[in-house]
Subunit: 109 residues, 2 copies
């Protein structure tokens, strides 16, 4: 696998009037940048990658993050959560349960 | 897993003068839209998702596509290739070898 972990952060932007809100409005871009910074800081550049993504269809739980290949989803991710996700999940292999969108992972409404 | 396959299409845009070019300039957005259309046409909406992504670091092979959870990478993907990727890979489970970036998947330069 090219990247041991590939982190996608929703950066979808909706019009301000849209009642669903959007991950962009909730800070998705800053979260993506925080992942990039933290991965570099931990020496993981090249091995683990963080990218912005279009709408991941988890608007009400945004900013939403999905990490592959494991397919773990996180919601309401703040910049302050990023170091913990990198430490526990990316490095330690244990998802951060308090941020996890388990219902979404199971495809439940 | 929330999505059986999650297709990410690089839509990164670089300045016109950048000699690496970019997936946006090579048609990434049209490829992403073609995936969305084809997945809907094949009744896979909700089960398989296509999203645009920021720079996947495969600029010279763009438009680049990665499909998770399997971590298969494709390069130089054209709109005309999308139906084949959906038919053979997403539905049939067999990657389209002629478009595959095997060296990249192995992390080789």
């Amino acid at each position: 696998m090219r990247f041991r972990c590939h982190v996608f952060v929703c950066e979808n932007q909706r019009p301000d009037a849209d009642e669903r809100g959007s991950c962009a409005a909730r800070g998705g871009e800053a979260v993506r940048q925080a992942f990039k910074d933290e991965l570099r800081r931990r020496g993981l550049k090249g091995e683990v990658r963080a990218n912005g993504a279009g709408c991941l269809d988890a608007c009400s739980d945004g900013p939403a993050v999905v990490i592959y290949p494991e397919g773990v989803w996180y919601g309401h991710v703040r910049v302050e959560d990023v170091a913990e996700i990198v430490e526990k999940h990316v490095i330690g292999g244990q998802p951060v349960e308090r941020l996890r969108l388990v219902r979404l992972e199971r495809g439940q409404p």
